[in-house]
Protein backbone atom coordinates (compact mmCIF):
# COMPACT_ATOMS: atom_id res chain seq x y z
CA UNK A 1 0.00 0.00 0.00
CA UNK A 2 1.34 3.44 -0.90
CA UNK A 3 1.73 5.88 1.95
CA UNK A 4 -0.25 8.51 0.06
CA UNK A 5 -3.07 7.68 -2.35
CA UNK A 6 -4.52 10.14 -4.82
CA UNK A 7 -6.88 9.53 -7.72
CA UNK A 8 -5.02 10.58 -10.90
CA UNK A 9 -8.24 11.60 -12.70
CA UNK A 10 -8.55 13.36 -15.04
CA UNK A 11 -11.31 15.38 -13.40
CA UNK A 12 -13.22 17.53 -15.86
CA UNK A 13 -15.58 20.27 -14.63
CA UNK A 14 -17.35 23.30 -16.13
CA UNK A 15 -16.15 26.80 -15.34
CA UNK A 16 -17.59 28.07 -12.07
CA UNK A 17 -17.95 24.63 -10.48
CA UNK A 18 -16.71 23.75 -7.02
CA UNK A 19 -13.86 21.26 -7.28
CA UNK A 20 -12.96 18.75 -4.61
CA UNK A 21 -9.54 17.08 -4.75
CA UNK A 22 -8.65 14.42 -2.21
CA UNK A 23 -5.86 12.29 -0.79
CA UNK A 24 -5.75 9.54 1.77
CA UNK A 25 -2.69 8.53 3.73
CA UNK A 26 -1.70 5.64 5.93
CA UNK A 27 0.95 7.07 8.25
CA UNK A 28 -0.62 8.60 11.37
CA UNK A 29 2.67 10.40 12.08
CA UNK A 30 2.08 12.89 9.25
CA UNK A 31 1.47 16.33 10.74
CA UNK A 32 1.88 18.75 7.82
CA UNK A 33 -0.13 18.54 4.64
CA UNK A 34 0.70 20.37 1.46
CA UNK A 35 -0.95 20.99 -1.85
CA UNK A 36 1.09 21.74 -4.95
CA UNK A 37 -0.18 22.85 -8.35
CA UNK A 38 1.77 21.87 -11.46
CA UNK A 39 1.05 23.36 -14.83
CA UNK A 40 2.09 21.46 -17.93
CA UNK A 41 5.85 21.64 -18.49
CA UNK A 42 6.44 23.55 -15.26
CA UNK A 43 7.71 22.68 -11.79
CA UNK A 44 5.24 22.20 -8.91
CA UNK A 45 4.14 25.38 -7.13
CA UNK A 46 3.29 25.32 -3.42
CA UNK A 47 -0.36 26.36 -3.04
CA UNK A 48 -1.08 25.83 0.63
CA UNK A 49 -0.03 23.87 3.62
CA UNK A 50 -1.83 23.05 6.84
CA UNK A 51 -0.76 21.68 10.16
CA UNK A 52 -2.75 18.98 11.92
CA UNK A 53 -6.54 18.93 11.55
CA UNK A 54 -8.90 21.66 10.48
CA UNK A 55 -9.44 24.03 7.61
CA UNK A 56 -7.35 26.72 6.00
CA UNK A 57 -8.68 29.17 3.46
CA UNK A 58 -6.80 31.26 0.90
CA UNK A 59 -8.96 33.08 -1.62
CA UNK A 60 -10.84 30.52 -3.69
CA UNK A 61 -8.88 27.64 -2.16
CA UNK A 62 -9.70 25.77 1.05
CA UNK A 63 -7.56 22.97 2.45
CA UNK A 64 -9.18 20.57 4.87
CA UNK A 65 -7.57 17.88 7.02
CA UNK A 66 -9.36 15.07 8.85
CA UNK A 67 -6.68 13.21 10.77
CA UNK A 68 -9.16 10.74 12.28
CA UNK A 69 -9.95 9.50 8.78
CA UNK A 70 -6.47 10.16 7.37
CA UNK A 71 -8.13 12.16 4.61
CA UNK A 72 -7.25 15.56 3.19
CA UNK A 73 -9.08 17.70 0.66
CA UNK A 74 -8.52 20.77 -1.44
CA UNK A 75 -11.61 22.69 -2.52
CA UNK A 76 -11.55 25.21 -5.35
CA UNK A 77 -14.52 27.58 -5.54
CA UNK A 78 -15.61 29.30 -8.74
CA UNK A 79 -13.14 27.25 -10.77
CA UNK A 80 -11.52 28.92 -13.76
CA UNK A 81 -9.89 27.52 -16.91
CA UNK A 82 -6.60 28.82 -15.49
CA UNK A 83 -7.00 26.31 -12.64
CA UNK A 84 -6.48 23.49 -15.15
CA UNK A 85 -3.35 21.75 -13.88
CA UNK A 86 -2.19 18.72 -11.93
CA UNK A 87 -2.70 19.00 -8.17
CA UNK A 88 -0.40 17.01 -5.92
CA UNK A 89 -0.76 16.44 -2.22
CA UNK A 90 2.43 15.98 -0.24
CA UNK A 91 3.38 15.23 3.33
CA UNK A 92 6.77 15.50 5.03
CA UNK A 93 7.98 12.25 6.54
CA UNK A 94 9.17 13.37 10.00
CA UNK A 95 10.87 10.06 10.65
CA UNK A 96 13.03 10.46 7.54
CA UNK A 97 14.34 13.99 7.69
CA UNK A 98 11.09 15.59 6.56
CA UNK A 99 11.37 13.98 3.13
CA UNK A 100 8.26 14.86 1.13
CA UNK A 101 6.01 11.97 0.12
CA UNK A 102 3.86 12.89 -2.87
CA UNK A 103 0.53 11.59 -4.09
CA UNK A 104 0.25 10.63 -7.74
CA UNK A 105 -1.39 13.95 -8.62
CA UNK A 106 -4.90 14.63 -9.95
CA UNK A 107 -5.26 16.15 -13.40
CA UNK A 108 -7.94 18.86 -13.35
CA UNK A 109 -9.52 20.30 -16.48
CA UNK A 110 -11.85 23.28 -16.17
CA UNK A 111 -13.85 23.82 -19.34
CA UNK A 112 -14.98 27.29 -20.35
Amino acid sequence: QKEVEQDPGPLSVPEGAIVSLNCTYSNSAFQYFMWYRQYSRKGPELLMYTYSSGNKEDGRFTAQVDKSSKYISLFIRDSQPSDSATYLCAMPHMEYGNKLVFGAGTILRVKS
Binding site: Y32, Y36, R41, K42, G43, L46, Y49, P92, G97, F102
Partner: protein, 115 residues
Protein backbone atom coordinates in the same frame (compact mmCIF):
# COMPACT_ATOMS: atom_id res chain seq x y z
CA UNK B 1 9.98 32.09 -1.73
CA UNK B 2 13.01 31.72 -4.00
CA UNK B 3 13.65 32.09 -7.71
CA UNK B 4 15.08 28.84 -9.02
CA UNK B 5 16.50 28.28 -12.48
CA UNK B 6 17.59 25.08 -14.13
CA UNK B 7 19.79 24.48 -17.15
CA UNK B 8 19.20 23.00 -19.61
CA UNK B 9 15.42 23.24 -19.76
CA UNK B 10 15.36 20.21 -22.05
CA UNK B 11 17.75 17.93 -23.90
CA UNK B 12 17.75 14.92 -26.15
CA UNK B 13 20.70 12.61 -25.53
CA UNK B 14 22.11 9.41 -26.89
CA UNK B 15 22.25 6.18 -24.92
CA UNK B 16 25.49 5.78 -22.97
CA UNK B 17 26.25 9.48 -22.63
CA UNK B 18 25.98 11.68 -19.53
CA UNK B 19 24.19 14.96 -18.88
CA UNK B 20 24.80 17.47 -16.11
CA UNK B 21 21.86 19.56 -14.94
CA UNK B 22 22.44 22.80 -13.08
CA UNK B 23 20.24 24.35 -10.42
CA UNK B 24 20.77 27.98 -9.41
CA UNK B 25 18.89 29.80 -6.64
CA UNK B 26 18.75 33.57 -6.20
CA UNK B 27 19.35 33.37 -2.45
CA UNK B 28 21.08 31.14 0.06
CA UNK B 29 18.97 28.14 1.02
CA UNK B 30 19.18 25.66 3.83
CA UNK B 31 18.46 22.52 1.84
CA UNK B 32 18.41 21.45 -1.81
CA UNK B 33 16.90 18.31 -3.27
CA UNK B 34 16.78 16.53 -6.61
CA UNK B 35 13.62 14.78 -7.82
CA UNK B 36 12.63 12.72 -10.82
CA UNK B 37 9.19 12.81 -12.38
CA UNK B 38 8.66 10.09 -14.93
CA UNK B 39 5.98 10.53 -17.59
CA UNK B 40 2.50 10.55 -16.05
CA UNK B 41 3.83 9.85 -12.58
CA UNK B 42 4.44 11.74 -9.37
CA UNK B 43 7.71 13.00 -7.97
CA UNK B 44 10.34 10.68 -6.56
CA UNK B 45 13.16 12.01 -4.42
CA UNK B 46 16.58 11.08 -5.77
CA UNK B 47 18.81 12.66 -3.14
CA UNK B 48 19.45 15.53 -0.76
CA UNK B 49 22.31 17.72 -1.96
CA UNK B 50 24.51 18.54 1.03
CA UNK B 51 26.72 21.61 0.91
CA UNK B 52 30.37 20.63 1.13
CA UNK B 53 29.79 16.91 1.55
CA UNK B 54 28.45 13.88 -0.26
CA UNK B 55 24.78 13.82 -1.17
CA UNK B 56 22.34 11.60 0.72
CA UNK B 57 20.69 9.18 -1.71
CA UNK B 58 17.29 7.55 -1.46
CA UNK B 59 16.74 3.85 -1.84
CA UNK B 60 17.16 2.82 -5.47
CA UNK B 61 19.47 5.69 -6.40
CA UNK B 62 23.27 5.52 -6.31
CA UNK B 63 26.09 8.00 -6.57
CA UNK B 64 27.70 6.34 -9.57
CA UNK B 65 24.55 6.82 -11.62
CA UNK B 66 23.50 10.23 -10.24
CA UNK B 67 26.54 12.11 -8.95
CA UNK B 68 25.57 15.37 -7.25
CA UNK B 69 27.60 18.39 -6.30
CA UNK B 70 26.70 21.34 -4.10
CA UNK B 71 29.69 23.66 -3.80
CA UNK B 72 27.79 26.48 -2.06
CA UNK B 73 24.39 27.49 -0.67
CA UNK B 74 22.94 28.65 -4.00
CA UNK B 75 24.06 26.08 -6.59
CA UNK B 76 23.90 22.36 -7.24
CA UNK B 77 24.38 19.97 -10.14
CA UNK B 78 22.95 16.55 -10.89
CA UNK B 79 24.61 14.32 -13.47
CA UNK B 80 22.70 11.49 -15.11
CA UNK B 81 25.43 9.03 -16.13
CA UNK B 82 25.57 6.31 -18.75
CA UNK B 83 22.03 7.12 -19.80
CA UNK B 84 19.45 4.67 -21.08
CA UNK B 85 15.93 5.32 -22.40
CA UNK B 86 14.59 4.48 -18.92
CA UNK B 87 16.23 7.69 -17.68
CA UNK B 88 13.90 9.76 -19.85
CA UNK B 89 12.14 11.91 -17.30
CA UNK B 90 11.77 15.39 -15.88
CA UNK B 91 14.43 16.21 -13.31
CA UNK B 92 13.60 18.90 -10.76
CA UNK B 93 15.56 20.60 -8.05
CA UNK B 94 13.82 21.99 -5.00
CA UNK B 95 14.89 24.12 -2.05
CA UNK B 96 13.92 24.89 1.49
CA UNK B 97 14.57 28.57 2.13
CA UNK B 98 14.42 29.09 5.86
CA UNK B 99 12.89 28.16 9.13
CA UNK B 100 9.63 26.81 7.78
CA UNK B 101 11.14 23.53 6.77
CA UNK B 102 8.13 22.18 5.04
CA UNK B 103 7.88 24.97 2.47
CA UNK B 104 9.68 23.44 -0.43
CA UNK B 105 9.93 25.34 -3.71
CA UNK B 106 10.64 23.74 -7.06
CA UNK B 107 12.57 24.74 -10.12
CA UNK B 108 11.01 24.58 -13.60
CA UNK B 109 12.50 21.16 -14.35
CA UNK B 110 14.75 19.69 -17.02
CA UNK B 111 13.00 17.48 -19.55
CA UNK B 112 15.37 14.72 -20.63
CA UNK B 113 14.79 12.34 -23.51
CA UNK B 114 17.24 9.50 -24.07
CA UNK B 115 17.23 7.79 -27.47
Amino acid sequence: SAVISQKPSRDICQRGTSLTIQCQVDSQVTMMFWYRQQPGQSLTLIATANQGSEATYESGFVIDKFPISRPNLTFSTLTVSNMSPEDSSIYLCSVVTGQIYNEQFFGPGTRLTVL
